[in-house]
Symmetry: C2
Subunit: 220 residues, 2 copies
């Protein structure tokens, strides 16, 4: 067993519990908002899905496990935000939490919400208040993280199902960023360089001229 400079082993020191909590973000149809998934906890308060890290487990795996067990959802690409370390943040004891964000298309989230309407729901990120622990702060961090991504790239999180029209992409941008100031043609020209045209053009059956379909340009 390894001993440190004070002659103590690792396990001689008090260790914290380590949790992961995840803000699962999505854009519901016709909502024009960026929403976050919340679950009802045992004591009735609302919170983000989370769990304690198990021995030998990776953080990303703990996130996936918490989403599977608590929500019945498969996460897309959970990303770390930061560690919340206030020693008093959890009244049950010394618990640190690694906050994560994961963006999931509505189509993957809808079945989950239908299955457990009483203890799993979603609320606009900008309106959530009173979540358990410091989860309000995690939601704000998560929303800003995702918004920064959408300011830089067409659809970094894959919210829009390919292939998509520029209108569909723009509506998602408006929902994520909250009313885009740019007009439709400016938006088009800003996005085009990072999109690939799909030869079979149409999105038929809609009002107006059929729109060209695009995919995200893979490399750069």
């Amino acid at each position: 067993m390894h001993l440190d400079s004070a002659g103590k082993a690792l396990t001689d020191y008090e260790r914290p519990s380590l949790a992961v909590d995840t803000a699962v973000l999505t854009v519901p149809p016709d909502s024009s908002t960026l929403d976050v998934l919340v679950v009802r906890s045992d004591d009735g308060t609302w919170r983000l899905p989370g769990t304690f890290l198990h021995e030998g487990e990776r953080l990303a795996d703990a996130v996936q496990r918490s989403l599977r067990v608590k929500v019945g959802l498969r996460g897309r690409d959970p990303e770390q935000l930061r560690v919340f370390d206030d020693p008093a943040r959890d009244s049950r004891g010394w618990v640190l939490s690694v906050a994560h964000v994961d963006v999931v298309p509505w189509a993957e989230l809808a079945p989950v919400l239908e299955r457990r309407p009483d203890d799993v729901t979603h609320r606009p990120c900008d309106e959530v208040r009173g979540l358990a622990f410091d989860h309000d702060a995690i939601v704000m961090l998560a929303a800003e993280h995702v918004r920064a991504g959408y300011r830089a790239d067409p659809d970094p999180a894959g919210l829009v199902t390919e292939p998509f029209t520029l209108r569909e992409l723009r509506l998602v941008h408006e929902a994520v960023l909250g009313r885009l100031p740019r007009s439709a043609d400016t938006f088009r020209r800003a996005m085009l360089p990072s999109l690939d045209e799909v030869s079979g053009e149409v999105r038929e059956g809609t009002v107006g001229k059929p729109a060209q379909l695009y995919r995200r340009r893979p490399a750069r």
Copy 2:
């Protein structure tokens, strides 16, 4: 004592040890490089200064303590980078590390290096290899984090002592970012909007026309 849905208390679960490791970055005089502080560990290998989180302690405080004890340095403004969570990253046991970065002006670092030349030194970020654990990766993350800051702002970390001339600021930028492509006058015009002129102009005793002195513009 609080019991969870499985009827277990917090302390019934295995907990990891939680460490903090900090990449202290600086720009040595006349070096034109962004350097990182490394310390020699008990087994002779080089590593970043770090420590285990003590009970009830904040991460930022643990960082400050590690810098004080291991280096004899007072940190400036340690920032979290991310958690390194490979279960096998530390052969001594299950240890997660919250990587931090802190930028310290050379003037504050020099006395420390003189005092312990054998077990504390500094190396260019882009040349470090073979540090203990995953510390090479932390250094890369830290350098990129600081560089992003200097691409956006004149001197976010306060590396240059106020008041300073535009030349002094530009030399620091070149060191941090590694040879700036922009010419001196383009650099001037990019920086001026976020600087405040100091009425007493000079930087005398130097070659050439005396330069105007500036400070960072406080708010925005």
